[in-house]
Symmetry: D2
């Protein structure tokens, strides 16, 4: 959804969340025309009946409401290595990241983590995000516009290993291959006591960072991983799901001191 | 930080974060007088040298800076069953909880979760928190004042099983023994599409809630648990810590629909 | 390996393990005729070259050797709810189960756990296994013969809730829906100090057993779950696999005392 | 308990397992004299009443029975880095290790893993175990005698990096710092298709082994970790224990092929 190119028609159409009651499956839909699902057709007039249960022509029930940030997020285009929300939540809660923080992100990717960060620091904070791959820069731009968060983010098509423009930021989060080659810039961008978070899929990269970061005045506060386990309830049986995610990324949390 | 008993002197004193460089141990200190640690005495003048490394009389190095929300949080009084930050982070990231949300919390306890929620929803959101135990109500009150978050929270010394005053809130979070006895009120407090999160230490309570909640128009979005595992680096060896937290609370996330 | 339908020819044919070197994929093969894989045809003469590396006609390399018990096990027919080897290993190591033990198994299923138990208690121990479903009894029978373990096992097509014939056994292991309906018989079958192990996919069944077992002179030694996490090495990157098994069965280990 | 030095008196005394019914605490006791516990004194005559419940002079109830291998194991002297039974169980179940196998162990330590291996391979198998530290060699010797397993084990006070005497063994298990310096010998000791298991507390050592083992004709079958989680039942509440072991050792399982 590019705002600039929005036609007059588009402007009047509104985004809705549809939840299929039996399966819990969710759909993001625009009002203004009929919507077709595997569970049957839903008429455009029904899409206006917000906060009610409606039926498809097959008789399947849907709940229709306004989507939240997380609902919308599930519908954006994402790359193969998107930061998982469990890891984002852990970082937020560990550091106290909140409204008003100034954030530097290194490695925008498809902008999912960027969006989460913007959603947390709004309305008074800001996210500066660096990416060197033009195609991801463009995807992230579109995603942030779709989510209505673009005003809280400055996307930069720039190699952070050659410099970070910001100073005195509260937190730097990196999610690219070799952040040890940007440690000087990361250190300079942070305020004293500020957090540097590094994300890595491989333990061998964690090891590489730890060897390098020892040369800088950073204190390591956390090295580790976050997991969750989902349970299922099929009355009367309650049990964990049999398979699940057991690895996404390792998290290293450090903090700048000033010698 | 309002404190009724604060003397004029106190008002001028400022809170600092001291990090012992060798061990990483942290201290929250007020300026204005000498501070004594196991690692030696730190002079009151040194406590003014913000964002620098200072030495105790034993020669141990400390970094001195302004504390963040999370630094301060580690120093507040807490009860035995405080919600763990990993669980709070998961809830924030799962629901998209952010600045501006209106939150109802059932079971204030010592106010740790309350403080996290306030820190996220500020400056335009608000937390309404219910507690029936007077002593916890008082502890939470003090903690929120110490953290400077009291203006974003309304503490209520009231049994939520007898009613919840708010309407159309974005999220309700319960952390007490028998929330199934408050389901009518929880349902009525929520906006359509709003989230209800229940926390329980026992799986048997999860089962009890699941049996009851089936009678209400809620959709279950998540039943499960969150974990983290910490690693330690003692060059050149990198390994997980041998022991750790393997259980805090089960999380049930549901969402209100309107029949 | 007794097989009623074995022709004279078959008798002379021998079982081999083929490991495809590049992928690690394994094949159990009989000698005596050419063998066809996705990686190309292997000639029957090559199948005689034990403990060497051979090539398919496509030039793919295979290592050929004698299969172990576990190699063979991967090729037997199994039902949907087979006990996982991680759980079997935990039970063996927790109880000290070893050569010479007398074991009662309740719920033979496809005989995988039966086979493991037989393999451990041989040559002087014995497994008595109860099953009420004729089709599983037959599958288990074939599997144990294929594995050459049938002489260490007595399969019984009998409902254990109506009685267990053995007395003074070292261990009873149950893997069926409602073992609380067989607790009298389980208790009577065990020697004093003997172990009773119950396996359940659901926590609600664990709870049910725990409520019932309190009426018998059993001591609970363990309630819990076993996990493993696999890592992958793609030089130079070392990392955990992204997805994995996070649940199979809950294990309850108790021990008989005599009032 | 050295057998050689056993006095006539000792010979007549028998080992018993005492289980304190209320707490589940276990004691290994010799008959022939009174036994004192925190729960009160137990008279020597009562220690003869095997497979019954007896009382201390304080009225506390104990169940008295013959100890199993695992009961005895809990009472032997152990070093700081003993292999955990969950890891031993996983190795047994993954490889099919069983009665009759010939095993080489590198790094005897206090002999706990040695004892488990001996207990599984008896009566016809054998364990050859290498240790370079005289004090551990002696501890292991005593432990194996106490457990009655010494006849199934050959302990060697010898550096395996300088050679392994055995040939054609079913499995080699190493638990010392730098097994990559013994890979030639490990390879030569194994039969084709035989298993080599390496245990390491650090992931950095796993990485080191993986880099070296690529130069040998081994197939990697498993790299990973094993966990268990214990639950507690305090009627009516059922929940996981709050803290637990989250790391012991990484396990690498490989298999010899012959080029």
């Amino acid at each position: 959804m590019k705002k600039n190119s929005a036609t007059e028609n588009d402007e009047k159409r509104v985004v809705r969340l549809l939840i299929h009651l039996k399966s819990g499956k969710k759909f993001i839909v625009k009002t203004g025309k009929d919507f077709n699902t595997n569970f049957g057709l839903i008429k455009k007039d029904d899409l206006e009946r917000i906060n009610t249960v409606i039926k498809s022509h097959k008789g399947e029930e849907f709940f229709i409401t306004e989507p939240t940030f997380v609902d919308l997020l599930k519908k954006v285009k994402r790359g193969p290595q998107t930061t998982h929300f469990k890891d984002i939540g852990f970082i937020i809660a560990f550091t106290g990241l909140s409204s008003g923080w100034r954030v530097v992100e290194l490695g925008t990717g498809s902008g999912i983590l960027t969006a989460y960060l913007a959603n947390i620091v709004k309305p008074n904070g800001h996210v500066y995000s660096y990416e060197i791959r033009k195609e991801f820069y463009e995807i992230a731009k579109k995603n942030l516009e779709f989510l209505g968060l673009d005003k809280y983010v400055t996307l930069k098509l720039k190699d952070c290993r050659e410099g970070i423009d910001e100073r005195n930021v509260d937190i730097v989060i990196s999610d690219f291959r070799d952040p040890w080659n940007a440690l000087d810039h990361i250190y300079n961008a942070l305020k004293p006591g500020g957090f540097y978070i590094a994300l890595f899929p491989n333990i061998t990269s964690v090891y590489e960072l730890l060897k390098h970061i020892g040369n800088y005045p950073f204190i390591i506060e956390f090295i580790g991983e976050v997991f969750y386990r989902e349970w299922v309830f099929e009355e009367p049986a309650l049990r964990p799901k049999n398979t699940g995610l057991v690895h996404t990324e390792f998290i290293v949390i450090s903090r700048k001191i000033t010698k």
